[in-house]
């Protein structure tokens, strides 16, 4: 029976500050009641304000960065839950449940090239992964981070990935309207890199972004027989495995077994394309 991670707790936290980023995003910095050890990128927390302005059900957000005992979250303001957080005053009291979920796999493999595909606010779980990988000694030249969005303002915080690029990680952007980087989407950019011989044919893919992008990544991985991991977002009622509201269809022949659904919150949010299918 999938259970919440053993390190998950309900913590009280204070909002330190809210920094606007891009067209509709914020980076929320919160200080939990106690400092957390370094977390695996793409784990997440359920967040809500405790002053009654947030909806009852907290919202899931990937950890973006850990800094000075604080947690940062990159949030696209979309509805009631995200708006309440983005508009919270400094010092606001928050409930923070986490850390939850499994997180990205380690970028291991001596000769493997890793292609990280981010779409819009799906950028959130990547810089911390790259940072941690470099610290573990992964060669920067083996990491290729492609970040796409509809337009430049939806690529959000570009400073951190550009810093990583200066340390040897390949960082490229793509926008549907051509306002920044490659004119097109990240899959198109990936194809171009392959066509130009800029990337080995054998790569491992990590992807986080909107559903159509993840569908395309899953298809690509199957067609090219590539290993791929998707960090999924679903509606979540609890984040800890008790509401059953976040089913992800499993592959009948996959390693998760014959059961038709995985729980995104406690079995994910990162799944291999051998485990689940977006259909």
């Amino acid at each position: 029976m999938p259970a919440p991670p053993s390190d998950a707790r309900l913590l009280h936290a204070r909002l330190v500050h809210v920094r606007p980023t891009g067209d509709d995003g914020v980076v929320l910095r919160v200080r939990p009641e106690r400092e957390l050890p370094p977390l695996r990128a793409s784990r997440f927390f359920m967040l809500k304000r405790l002053d009654g302005t947030s909806p009852m059900i907290p919202r899931p957000f990937s950890i973006y960065r850990q800094v000075d005992g604080c947690l940062e979250f990159l949030i696209k303001v979309m509805g009631r839950g995200t708006r309440a957080l983005a508009e919270a005053p400094e010092g606001a009291e928050l409930s923070v449940v986490g850390p939850l979920g499994n997180g990205w796999p380690d970028l291991d493999g001596e000769s493997a090239s890793w292609v990280l595909l981010g779409g819009g606010v799906g950028a959130a779980p990547f810089p911390m992964l790259i940072e941690a990988s470099l610290a573990r000694g992964v060669a920067p030249g083996r990491i290729h981070y492609l970040l796409g969005a509809a337009t430049k303002g939806l690529l959000y915080d570009l400073d951190w990935p550009r810093d990583l690029a200066e340390r040897g990680v390949r960082f490229l952007t793509a926008t549907d309207d051509g306002s920044e980087g490659f004119h097109g989407n990240v899959l198109g950019l990936l194809e171009r890199l392959w066509d130009e011989g800029e990337l080995p044919r054998e790569v491992r893919l990590l992807a986080c972004g909107p559903d159509p992008m993840l569908h395309a990544v899953e298809r690509l991985a199957r067609e090219r027989d590539l290993e791929a991991w998707l960090s999924l977002e679903t509606l979540m009622g609890c984040g800890v495995g008790i509401c059953n509201g976040c089913p992800v269809p499993t592959r009948p022949d996959g390693p998760l077994g014959a059961w038709g659904n995985a729980k995104c919150c406690v079995e994910g949010p990162v799944f291999s394309t051998r485990e689940v299918t977006l259909g």
């Binding site: 029976m1 259970a3 919440p4 053993s6 998950a8 707790r9 309900l10 809500k48 909806p55 009852m56 059900i57 907290p58 409930s95 449940v97 679903t234 509606l235 979540m236 009622g237 609890c238 800890v240 495995g241 008790i242 509401c243 059953n244 509201g245 976040c246 089913p247 059961w259 038709g260 659904n261």
Partner: protein
Amino acid sequence: MVDLAVSLGSLRLRNPILTASGTFGHGLEMRAFTPASKVGALVSKTVTLEPRAGNPAPRISETEAGFLNSIGLENRGVEHYIAHTLPEVAGADTRIVTNIGGESVADYARIAEVLADREEIDAFEVNLSCPNVHGGKLPFGTVPRVAAEVIEAVRAVTSKPVFAKLSPNVTRIADMAVAVEGAGADAITAVNTLLGMAVDWKSGRPALATVQGGYSGPGIRPVALRCAWECARNVSIPVIGCGGISSVEHVLEFLVAGCTAVQIGTASFADPTLPGRIAGELDGELARAGIERVGDLIGTIRDGREAQRG
């Protein structure tokens, strides 16, 4: 030190706080948030004879004052429950209530029979009222005679306490309560979710894949309280209140209205420490009111006209 113990039939609980079925897993996996030892009982998610894949996504949706769900009783069936869940809950420092569901009277009888001798289980709660199967037709939840048949069938195969979980989606819940009492239920859980739905008028899309689902959370508390009160004054078996409870004050309101115990449901999604925390606050709250035994509060609701005069 207030005496918090209550009895549901022959089942003695350390306090009147239970988790609601389908809102706390099997309970033990949540120990980092609410240790089993804090609550009176842990109620399992509904177990059925055969595995059920459940409904497609979206299965949940939040509304202004509550939560819609249409999970569809996803569970891996009773064999899996016996092989994997019961060993995990064995020896738990609380009472274990197994919630059972079925699609026919025979189904209910069979699953109760299969589980009847399992000593890990302290009581059964019979789910007569899931709105998310049978296309929301609630066959066992709305006809007193049929509900009674189900309870009789379960009663016949087990000596463990049997709770009947009722639906609020009926004209007269008292008729249901009287029927299940007559059929041998040891307690009544009132209530399951209200049928509800939500739709986005611009896209025309319903919020749930099954269109309608079960509505729970703060918005249903007045309805649940009324249902529990109506049950309590029409039967002599204990009533377990359920619906929108998220604070110790809410618990005490249900007790005053006639409930012997309560279940914490949707509120656990937002704060899984809540069942344990509410249980921990009961003692102080009752002590401050000068109440020595929680039982002394049960059913002390006054006449409405008298209450207005203070």
